[in-house]
C-alpha cells in the first residue's frame, strides 16, 4: 500500500511533465492539423538551456534557489519560444497548403536536425547538474519503507497545474484564445474577420514551446541529467498522451499526460521496468482500436 502511494506520487510528477509537452502537440494539431514531431526536440532544448543557465548562475554566484529557478525558467521560455517560432516559420509555413504529408516529413527532418545540432554544439555525452531543489516531506513511515514527496515533486506538480489553469483561461477567456479557436475552426473565415492567421499560428507554436520549456527545466531539476536524445523519448510519450486524451482536446492532453505517467510508474513498480514503454504504447494501441477519437476527443462526424 505504501509502495503504491509512493508510485502514485512519482507517476503524477512524471505525468505532469508529459502533460505539459502534450499540450504543445494537441494545440498545433488543432490549429494546423499536423503533428509537430520536432516538439520533443524543443523540450530537449529547454532542458539544455536549463543546464547551461544553472551552470552560469552557479558561476556567477546566484545561490538563492527560488531566484535561480525563476531566472532559469524565464530564460528557457524566451529561448524556446524563439525556437518554436523559427521552426514554424522555416519548416512549416512555406509548406502550408501543400499536400498533407509534406509538413509531417518536414517536421521529422526538423527533429533530426535539432538533435544533431545540439549534439554538435554540446557533445553527445550526458550533461549533469548538482541537485538544486533538495529535501522531502515524509508522509508515512513504516519500519522498512518511507513514503515521501520531495520538494521538487511538489514544485513540478503545482507549477504544472498552475500553468494548465492559466493556459485554459488564456484559451477560453482572452482575445488571443478566441482568435486561436476561431482559426482552429475556420481559418479563411477568421482571416475575413480581420484575424491575422499567420500571427495566431506563430503564437500557438510559441506557447507550445514555452510549456515544453517548463517541462524541460523541471526534468532537469528532477533527474539532473540531460542528453541530446531525451527529446525523442519524451516527445513520443507526450504524443501518445495527446492521442490518448483525444488529439485536439486540451483537457484531453492534460489527462492523457497524467494517465501515461501513472501507467509508467505502476508498471515499473509491479512488473518489469524494461517493459514500461511497451506498456505505455500498448495502452495507446488499445485506445486507438476501441476509442479512436481518444478519451475526451470529439469524433469527426462526416456529413453524408
Amino acid at each position: 500500500m505504501e509502495y503504491f502511494l509512493q508510485q502514485t506520487i512519482n507517476g503524477i510528477t512524471l505525468g505532469a511533465v508529459y502533460g505539459l509537452i502534450a499540450i504543445g502537440y494537441t494545440m498545433v494539431y488543432g490549429i494546423v492539423g499536423m503533428i509537430n514531431f520536432a516538439h520533443g526536440e524543443i523540450y530537449m532544448i529547454g532542458a539544455f538551456i536549463a543546464v547551461i543557465a544553472f551552470t552560469l548562475l552557479g558561476m556567477m554566484g546566484v545561490t538563492w534557489v527560488p531566484a535561480a529557478v525563476l531566472i532559469v525558467l524565464v530564460t528557457a521560455m524566451l529561448f524556446t519560444a524563439a525556437y518554436g517560432w523559427a521552426v514554424e516559420r522555416i519548416a512549416y509555413r512555406p509548406l502550408r497548403g501543400s499536400f498533407r504529408l509534406a509538413p509531417l516529413i518536414s517536421a521529422i527532418g526538423m527533429s533530426i536536425f535539432l538533435q544533431n545540432y545540439v549534439q554538435l554544439l554540446q557533445g553527445a555525452r550526458v550533461k549533469s547538474i548538482q541537485p538544486i531543489v533538495t529535501g522531502a516531506i515524509p508522509l508515512i513511515e513504516t519500519g522498512h519503507f518511507q513514503v515521501a514527496v520531495t520538494y521538487i515533486q511538489i514544485l513540478i506538480v503545482t507549477l504544472t497545474i498552475a500553468l494548465m489553469i492559466s493556459f485554459s483561461l488564456l484559451i477560453t477567456r482572452t482575445r488571443f484564445g478566441r482568435a486561436q479557436r476561431a482559426c482552429e475552426q475556420d481559418q479563411t473565415m477568421a482571416a475575413l474577420l480581420g484575424i491575422d492567421v499567420d500571427r495566431t499560428i506563430s503564437m500557438t507554436f510559441m506557447i507550445g514551446a514555452i510549456l515544453a520549456a517548463v517541462a524541460g527545466v523541471m526534468v532537469t531539476l528532477y533527474y539532473g541529467v540531460v542528453d541530446f536524445f531525451i527529446g525523442f523519448q519524451a516527445g513520443i510519450k507526450a504524443f501518445a498522451a495527446a492521442v490518448l486524451g483525444g488529439i485536439g482536446s486540451l483537457p484531453g492532453a492534460m489527462l492523457g499526460g497524467f494517465l501515461i505517467g501513472l501507467v509508467e510508474a505502476y508498471w515499473s513498480a509491479y512488473f518489469s521496468i524494461e517493459y514500461k514503454d511497451i506498456a505505455t504504447f500498448s495502452i495507446l494501441i488499445l485506445v486507438l482500436i476501441f476509442r479512436p477519437s481518444g478519451l475526451l476527443g470529439r469524433p469527426d462526424v462526416e456529413k453524408v
Binding site: R175, R181, T188, L192, G194
Partner: protein
C-alpha cells in the same frame, strides 16, 4: 454618404483556359444596395472572391474609396481587406464558428479593435482600464446585435445548435461587428422560407439605414433582389450584360434572353 464606394474596373479572372470573369466593370454607390445577379455559373461568386482577397485577379483593379483613402483590394491579403479596408462578407454556405458560443462569434469579429485597444497584448495582459473598457464595449455591441436579430436568449449556446435561419442572421451580424463600410452577402436568402426572407429584407434595409453600411448582394431570390436593391448588375458568362435600376433591368431584353434563352430556342424545344 454619396459617391462611388467600390469601383471595379476591367476585372478579369482566368483559371487555366477558363475565363470566369471577362473584362468586367461596375461600381457600387456608397449607401446603396447593389445586387449582382445572373444565371448559375455566371461568375458572381468569383467576383466576390476577388473583392475579398480569395483570388488574385488576372487583370483589373478593384478600388475601394473610404475616408478619402483608396484601397486596391486586388493587391491586399484577406485579413488586411477586413481590417484596413473594412470589407466584410458572408458565404453561400454558412461559415460560423460552430463550436464557439453565439456571443463569442460576435466578439471574435471585433478582434482588431480589441487588438488595438490592448496595445498589441501589453495592456490586455495587465488588464489596463482602457482595455477593459474596450472589452466591455465589444460585449455591449454584440448584445446590441443579438437584440436586433432576436437571439439574446441563445447568447451562450454554441452557434452550431441554432436553426438555419438564425445562423444566417448571426452570420450577417458577425460580419457587421467588424465595422465594415461594405458588406458582401453571397445569397443571404438561400434556404430561407418566405417569412424568413421577408425578415431578411427588413434587416438588410435597416442595416443600410441605421448603420450606414453599403451592401453588395448576390441573390437568386427575385423578391429580395427587386424588393431592396437600388442598383442591379447582371452577369452572364463572366460579362456584364445589363446594369441599372430594378425596373430597367427587369425590362432589358438581354437579361430576359440570358435567363430564358432565345425565343427561337424556346419554341423549338
Amino acid at each position: 454618404m454619396n459617391g462611388v464606394l467600390l469601383d471595379v474596373a476591367n476585372l478579369t479572372m482566368r483559371f487555366g483556359g477558363l475565363t470566369a470573369i471577362d473584362d468586367l466593370s461596375f461600381s457600387a454607390q456608397a449607401g446603396h444596395i447593389t445586387a449582382i445577379i445572373g444565371p448559375n455559373g455566371a461568375g458572381k461568386t468569383t467576383v466576390f472572391n476577388c473583392i475579398t482577397g480569395f483570388y488574385k485577379p488576372t487583370l483589373g483593379r478593384i478600388a475601394l474609396a473610404r475616408d478619402s483613402a483608396t484601397f486596391d483590394l486586388a493587391q491586399m491579403s484577406g485579413h488586411k481587406i477586413a481590417s484596413a479596408a473594412h470589407v466584410a462578407r458572408t458565404f453561400q454556405n454558412i461559415r460560423l464558428f460552430p463550436r464557439m458560443t453565439v456571443l463569442e462569434n460576435l466578439i471574435v469579429a471585433q478582434h482588431n479593435k480589441l487588438m488595438c485597444a490592448s496595445g498589441y497584448t501589453i495592456a490586455g495582459l495587465f488588464g489596463l482600464p482602457s482595455y477593459r473598457k474596450a472589452e466591455r464595449n465589444a460585449v455591449a455591441k454584440a448584445r446590441g446585435w443579438l437584440e436586433r436579430i432576436g437571439l439574446v436568449d441563445r447568447a451562450d449556446d454554441e452557434a452550431g445548435t441554432l436553426h438555419y435561419g438564425a445562423q444566417r442572421k448571426l452570420e450577417i451580424a458577425r460580419a457587421l461587428c467588424t465595422d465594415p463600410v461594405l458588406l458582401c452577402l453571397d445569397e443571404p436568402a438561400a434556404g430561407l422560407n418566405a417569412r424568413e426572407s421577408a425578415e431578411l429584407n427588413r434587416l438588410l434595409l435597416d442595416i443600410r439605414a441605421t448603420d450606414g453600411v453599403s451592401l453588395l448582394l448576390i441573390e437568386h431570390d427575385m423578391n429580395v433582389v427587386m424588393g431592396i436593391s437600388d442598383h442591379i448588375v447582371v452577369l452572364d458568362y463572366g460579362k456584364r450584360i445589363a446594369n441599372g435600376t430594378p425596373d430597367a433591368v427587369r425590362a432589358d431584353p438581354a437579361v430576359i434572353r440570358a435567363y430564358l434563352g432565345e425565343p427561337d430556342a424556346v419554341e423549338s424545344a
